[in-house]
């Protein structure tokens, strides 16, 4: 039970090799059911002060083990999933004209500084720059589709460009 609450250095590489070697030992259905409930909880209560240790404790798993299982199932850590969800919601609020500070608070982020740097890393521009520019392609689609299509993706592979490009064509 001495697992650290945060991810140790080299964690991403270790998870990748775990996932690869886990190929012949798939996760149990019970584990997947719990992971789904944790992911649904994040989708529903992303604005609450949720954190990985709290969710892991509910599953009687250590935070590191929970993160590993989640990443094996969904391809990203629960913390990354939660932050991506928050940023995606913040993008919608900013498009509606909400201030950066209010959007930060509304999605459950507690520090404006780390919210802004996470936003910039995932979206490729600062929250205020994103808020200031036009968003015709996204505004024209229902929120349920915007949620899927504007979902920030790792490594700058955002699909926002695709949406704008296809709307323009």
């Amino acid at each position: 039970m001495a697992e650290p609450p945060s991810d140790p250095p080299g964690y991403a590489r270790r998870v990748a090799s775990d996932a690869a070697s886990a190929g012949n030992q798939p996760q149990s259905v019970e584990t997947l059911r719990f992971l789904r409930r944790a992911r649904d909880l994040m989708d529903r209560q992303y604005a609450d002060p949720l954190d990985v240790p709290t969710m892991a404790a509910k599953a009687l798993m250590s935070p590191a083990h929970f993160s590993r299982e989640f990443k094996t199932a969904y391809g990203e850590t629960p913390y990354a999933y939660l932050m991506t969800r928050r940023i995606e919601r913040a993008m919608a609020l900013l498009r509606d004209g909400m201030s950066v500070t209010d959007a930060c608070t509304a999605v459950g982020a507690t520090s404006l500084g780390s919210f802004s740097s996470t936003f910039t890393r995932l979206v490729g521009e600062t929250p205020s720059a994103y808020r200031a520019r036009p968003h015709e392609a996204v505004e024209a689609m229902p929120s349920c589709m915007a949620m899927v299509l504007t979902r920030p993706m790792p490594f700058g592979l955002s699909r926002i460009g695709e949406a704008s490009a296809s709307a323009a064509s």
Binding site: P26, Q27, V29, L32, R33, L35, R36, R37, R39, D40, D43, R44, A73, Y74, P142, S143, C144
Partner: protein, 136 residues
């Protein structure tokens, strides 16, 4: 318009009996047929307002290899299966309360969506994403 309509739509569930409780007892569909063959089950449920239309529940291995069945079960259970399935009702609030009281996992309470409809959302007992719209 061409004369064509939807007749059957399949839905994979990992516990057929729990699914019957959800779709028949909580949601209000009518049990039309329950067929067992070769260790698998196909359960057809109908809609009073749409005669002929059937939702057909079956277990993950029904009609496919055990390997494919297992893979499909995993997708459904982890919430990444096909869906959502979207229903209409004339009384969204009563339906929501009935389904919640039956113990279903709530994904979203009834609310008006920015793009128009008022809806709510659940997981069925297997993990399928179910949405219910207030009919106009």
């Amino acid at each position: 318009m061409t004369d064509i309509s939807l007749s059957y739509s399949p839905l994979t569930v990992d516990d057929v009996d729990a699914a019957i409780q959800f779709y028949r007892d909580a949601l209000g569909l009518e049990l039309v047929n329950d067929v067992a063959s070769d260790g698998h089950r196909w359960v057809s449920l109908g809609f009073s307002g749409q005669p002929g239309l059937m939702l057909v529940l079956s277990d993950p291995g029904a009609g496919r290899s055990p390997e494919d069945g297992e893979a499909l079960q995993r997708l459904v259970v982890k919430g990444s299966g096909p869906g959502p399935i979207v229903f209409n009702t004339t009384d969204l609030d009563a339906t929501f309360e009935r389904v919640r009281a039956a113990g279903a996992e709530v994904l979203q309470e009834p609310k008006v969506q920015p793009w128009g409809p008022r809806d709510c959302a659940f997981r069925d007992p297997s993990g399928n994403h179910i949405r219910i719209n207030q009919a106009a």
